[in-house]
């Protein structure tokens, strides 16, 4: 390997890693939030809203992320959505994640035992209080493992953003690989780095699950 070239490229690679992590964390936070809005709209909103959101979720889940990014980045300008690569990538990842998170969270809402809601109604909680105090907390506990899984998926999907030239980690490392012909080494670096991050995420998830164990359903 050409070390001079590596030293030269390092700042760009580190910047790329930062961009990847920033976009990923934004996806991990805003994906579930938008997903929650979709899930609540589908569960408690009028029928037309459920139908509309259902169609949206199905389209997102039924097409490759790569194709969605092409459509957003190259097709966006035709509908007045002319975004730079990074905002486009960020938006794309959040929307993509939201579709999956909405299904995870909806599954969680449905899985909360009906009796827990009935007990709350009998105590006198109103609809909003039942959602805030009972459904959302219990849902969170139920969906945690699936969410950790989805966070890992989102991290790996960020690599796709290199295709629309978001200056993220995969783009920076592959650019270095092409410049120095160190294709294999750079691919190995990519694999190691992503794997390290997913492993970290998995650990965080497991420690959260252990911490929440006392809240488990009985």
């Amino acid at each position: 390997m050409n070390f001079d070239a590596l030293i030269e490229a390092l700042p760009e690679i580190i910047d790329g890693l930062e961009v990847t992590i920033a976009i990923w964390l934004a996806g991990c936070l805003f994906g579930p939030l938008l997903g929650l809005a979709i899930a609540l709209g589908r569960q408690f909103g009028p029928r037309w809203l459920d139908r509309g959101l259902w169609a949206f979720v199905e389209v997102i889940r039924g097409t490759p992320f790569l194709v969605q990014m092409f459509l957003l980045y190259y097709g966006g300008p035709f509908i007045g959505l002319d975004l730079d690569p990074t905002p486009a990538g960020l938006l794309g990842l959040i929307v993509y994640g939201a579709a999956y998170f909405s299904e995870i969270l909806r599954g969680g809402l449905i899985a909360v035992p009906k009796g827990h809601v009935e007990a709350a109604l009998c105590v006198g909680l109103d609809r909003g209080q039942v959602i805030r105090r009972i459904l959302l907390p219990e849902m969170t506990l139920l969906v945690l493992p699936a969410c950790v899984n989805m966070w890992v998926v989102l991290l790996k999907e960020t690599a796709i953003l290199s295709i629309i030239t978001v200056p993220e980690f995969t783009l920076a490392v592959t650019a270095f690989g092409s410049a120095t012909f160190a294709f294999t080494q750079s691919a190995a670096v990519l694999a190691l780095a992503y794997w390290g991050l997913t492993e970290l995420t998995g650990r965080l998830g497991r420690s959260l699950e252990a911490r929440f164990d006392r809240f488990r359903l009985v």
Partner: protein, 266 residues
């Protein structure tokens, strides 16, 4: 009599699809009495209780809680009008419900479960809500378990917390749906004891139970439900000593076969 009743049901009908589960039930639950609802599995006992709390919507008839109609009121032309949600919640406030499956909220401690309604519904300050919740936990003998989560409690303890949670809202009537049926036999006693104490304090109770001994000793009014109809009702002593209805006799026989006759004596 109707005015005095804690719960009155008139011609209550409930269907699930094509399955008619309650076929015109007339029932009076009197203030200060323990009414026990017994009957074969699938006869509609849970449905009846759930209709009283309006957790199920009855398809016909009128149900009154302390005189106030719940869910539907009779209109002048004999039809029914649906009452608004706020009104349903208001009438429901005089009911406390205890479920077979406890239904404690797993993300709250025992104290949190009992204090929740005091905080959210009665809007009591945190300290006051906790003090009151603690008093109710003490009443069911669980003060020292206040900070435990449901997953850390036995079934009997969970059910006692659930009773405390219902009592904390100061209901006029307590509804119990087979409160000991999902408990191991050695844990039913502690729950029945709490219920017996409650009855002794004069609480109005409507109890669905398979504990024939409890029904015979604590129950004052016995209602035998069979295929969605009240087949037989009366004072506890009479009903158990002279179960004149063949279905009731047959129903009791299944208990006697299991050696429960001793429970009916005395």
């Amino acid at each position: 009599m109707t005015q005095d009743a804690a719960i009155t049901m008139r011609n209550v009908v409930k269907r699930f699809g094509g399955n008619t589960v309650l076929r015109g039930v007339d029932l009076d639950v009197r203030h200060g009495e323990v009414t026990c609802l017994i009957g074969p599995s699938g006869s509609g006992k849970s449905t009846l209780l759930r209709c009283a709390a309006f957790l199920e919507e009855h398809d016909d008839g009128i149900i009154r809680i302390g005189g106030a109609p719940i869910g539907y009121d009779a209109a002048a032309d004999g039809s029914r009008t649906r009452l608004p949600p706020g009104e349903i919640a208001r009438v429901r406030r005089s009911i406390g419900m205890v479920f077979q499956q406890f239904n404690l909220w797993p993300h709250m401690t025992a104290l949190g479960n009992v204090a929740e309604g005091l905080r959210q519904v009665l809007r009591l300050p945190k300290r006051e809500a906790q003090d009151r919740a603690m008093a109710h936990l003490t009443r069911v003998g669980l003060a020292e378990r206040a900070s435990f989560y449901p997953s850390q409690l036995s079934g009997g303890q969970q059910q006692r917390v659930a009773i405390a949670r219902a009592l904390a809202m100061d209901p006029k009537i307590m509804l119990f749906d087979e409160p000991t049926s999902s408990l191991d036999p050695e844990l039913t006693g502690e729950v029945l004891t709490v219920m017996r104490d409650l009855a002794a304090e004069g609480m109005t109770m409507l109890v669905v139970t398979h504990e024939i001994g409890f029904a015979a000793h604590v129950g004052q009014h016995i209602v035998f439900l069979d295929e969605g109809r009240i087949a037989l009702e009366g004072r506890a002593g009479e009903v158990f000593r002279k179960p004149w209805h063949p279905r009731m006799a047959q129903f009791l026989q299944t208990y006697l076969d299991r050696g429960a006759s001793v429970l009916l004596e005395g």
